[in-house]
Subunit: 229 residues, 2 copies
């Protein structure tokens, strides 16, 4: 598989021959060096991924034949409630959460959070790049930012976790996986009062190891700790 | 705790009063905005961390009183055998492996690896920044690069793992934690032949989830999967 290209949402159908737009054609032919006969993948950016074969490697209008549909593994919800960090760290968080299998990031206005998220076009660009790189058919969803009180409201049937310092905790796997959400602090962390409030609201402590982790690193650690074994 | 500063290795002793050098003083006073009376931490960069109190906040020669020694939690070996990636990804890998509790990164010349590691002064800078950020007293060790055959040699008593695509595996925790090493591919991954050779050499498959993870992300996921629960 030589690379992944995007097409318009809803436009993919096995057996069709389609022409990619100029930026995607340029990416495949000039960056990924695809040639006629190479196997690639096509993403519609919304839900669907297909295998495809390059018919004509043209850097302005690459012609491809759409092959079989490749579905993602079905993921139980993995929701990151993320204290808002600076733009560069948000980009890292979105990229790494995509790779590590989060289904949704919900930015939260915590006491030490940054005031605002990057503009939507910037986020879309980061999400696309992550999707192209890690190959998921359904992109990570980035929700609108919510306030602290909203973040603490119950959300059944997911289990709720808050990343806290201390020894590593063992999340136990009982019954079907109905999803999990985990609260990760911004740079500087959650305040002790916020951790206490989250615990009172039913969030279980999840300790990620002995050292301070930046927000993107903590997201990946938390997703791995919450994977079902 | 307002920030962390470095002093010369071997120079820390509880009860002493010491003057920090100009770059460290500037960092604490101008960047971290410490004032007289603030609590900070001092690292000697090699093995030791102490609590300290700022006596005089001078941006050229900050005077501090050295408090109690703070030891790291004792870590069983967590060794990352890392296919060499480009310089920016190496910096990310070193930073994130530091935070996530790796004890050592060993760069490996795999089939798809980059030719060389960043120069040692660049690595030292990245390691220092990571240590200052995540607070560990003993830095991550970055070993000299080794070839593929050397990477596959047995290293008792650590368990050996190779990151491979597929369903998440459950590493089982039996007996004392004698350490673990995990082989993570460079950009483009290990080749199928390399995965087969590693398995033949006794490396167990460790699957990190359904999507492709870049090397730094895979390192964090692997360390979390290999944490003892």
């Amino acid at each position: 598989m030589r690379g992944r290209a995007f097409v318009e949402a809803g436009s993919l159908s096995t057996g069709d021959t389609t022409t990619l737009d100029a930026p995607e054609s340029h990416y495949l032919v000039r960056v990924r060096r695809v040639a006629a006969g190479d196997t690639i993948q096509l993403l519609d950016g919304a839900t669907v991924r297909h295998r495809a074969t390059v018919v004509r490697a043209d850097a302005k209008a690459c012609l491809v034949e759409v092959g079989e549909r490749l579905d993602d593994a079905v993921l139980a919800p993995r929701i990151i409630l993320m204290g808002i960090v600076d733009s560069r760290a948000v980009a890292d968080a979105v990229t790494m959460a995509s790779e590590a299998g989060a289904t949704e990031i919900v930015p939260v206005h915590t006491a030490r959070a940054q005031a605002s998220m990057p503009p939507p076009p910037r986020l879309t660009k980061v999400l696309r790049a992550a999707q192209r790189q890690c190959g998921r058919a359904v992109p990570l969803r980035v929700a609108a930012a919510i306030d602290w009180a909203t973040a603490l409201q119950p959300r059944h049937p997911t289990s709720s976790w808050v990343a806290s310092p201390g020894a590593v905790t063992a999340p136990t796997a009982e019954g079907p996986d109905t999803g999990a959400r985990v609260l990760i602090g911004p740079e500087g962390g959650l305040t002790p009062e916020e951790v206490t409030q989250a615990r009172s609201a039913g969030f279980q402590a999840l300790s990620l190891g002995p050292f301070v982790q930046r927000t993107p690193t903590a997201i990946v650690s938390a997703l791995a700790f919450l994977a079902r074994r």
